[in-house]
Symmetry: C2
Subunit: 204 residues, 2 copies
């Protein structure tokens, strides 16, 4: 089920709410007000109330949002209530760091396969995965995996993306410093670390 009217900007903030609610739950806190949540997340309370109302979550005046059920609700809408398998392409330094990134487990992500084109890396073990040859990406079709993390050099990224999409991948987290041309049905999120750093000098 998709709620098509929810703005992308709201969706973008949802994992942030989910993490906050998940942490509160481990701390056995039962409710939180939009005011308290706003302070934690550096947002404003009306924004939070509006965002959460899209998902049918309404706080009770003077009490706030129920932590446990709101977390479950967000998790279900983001489809993070089931374990999400993702593949990693690129077992270089960044890829290897990503594969062991502790933040993934909170959201139920599981790196289910790792690919590289370097014979020195293929066959080695990273975490629980054997590094496979990128030529094997085609086998993903049979494995029913729809998410990929791309951490390859810029000049290899488009080719890998094409192979992933041919193999049934529907969403790509792109950490390669370039844009990807993909069909409209495929969702790409690009994180370019140098670009983010690039705006800092302007502000300091």
């Amino acid at each position: 089920m998709k709620y098509h009217k929810i703005p992308d900007e709201t969706i973008k903030r949802m994992p942030m709410y989910l993490r906050a609610f998940s942490i509160l739950k481990t701390q056995n806190q039962e409710t939180i007000s939009s005011q308290q949540l706003a302070e934690r997340l550096h947002l404003n309370p009306p924004q939070i109330r509006k965002d959460l109302s899209y998902f049918g979550a309404f706080g009770t005046r003077g009490i706030g949002y129920p932590v446990s059920s709101t977390a479950e609700q967000i998790r279900s809408i983001l489809k993070l209530d089931v374990s999400q398998q993702a593949v990693l392409v690129g077992a270089g330094r960044l890829g290897t760091a990503i594969a062991s990134y502790p933040g993934f487990s909170m959201f139920g992500f599981d790196i289910a396969a790792i690919f590289d084109n370097d014979n020195n890396k293929i066959g080695k073990t990273i975490g629980k995965n054997l590094v496979e040859n990128v030529a094997e990406i085609v086998t993903l079709k049979a494995r029913n995996i729809r998410l990929a993390i791309l951490a390859v050099p810029a000049n290899a990224a488009q080719g890998c993306a094409d192979a992933l999409i041919d193999a049934g991948i529907k969403g790509i987290l792109n950490l390669s410093p370039c844009y990807l041309n993909v069909p409209k049905r495929v969702k790409v999120i690009t994180i370019d670390i140098a670009m983010e750093l690039g705006i800092l000098p302007y502000y300091i």
Copy 2:
């Protein structure tokens, strides 16, 4: 010189324009239209014209923007026309990957120091830097470095940020999965890779 009326969203897109213009320059292309630029960057042409006009860059109808001078102009406004030294705190997998990230050099960034709290890492060499003890962060004051990249576990991040700010750091690229409380004069950009991945399942 700061152009205070430029929206943050425009500033955010500026490194993207800079990279595009820089690549075009290496390809000896002399001009580019907003239409062509829009296709490369997956933006719309009016958006690009508006963004660039904030910086006094106006394309010539039928010819477009001059590649070389527009690149220089953006670089100067973003203060990327001088080499920007940054320190890295956290020499774990992610930090080490970041330290060798090839994308930084295009923007003139230079990792000038690396810190960690792990005795097994302190004293080792990463790239051209010796890993220093985090207790030495205080010495940054004398080194005139104002940018930091933070890649430490969530529970260590706030302490490191406080030490960095005490030592004169004015801008932090935060790769630790948490929020930082900082004075208003300090600019923080947080990249949370798991959160970015967290929105993908919703769309697929």
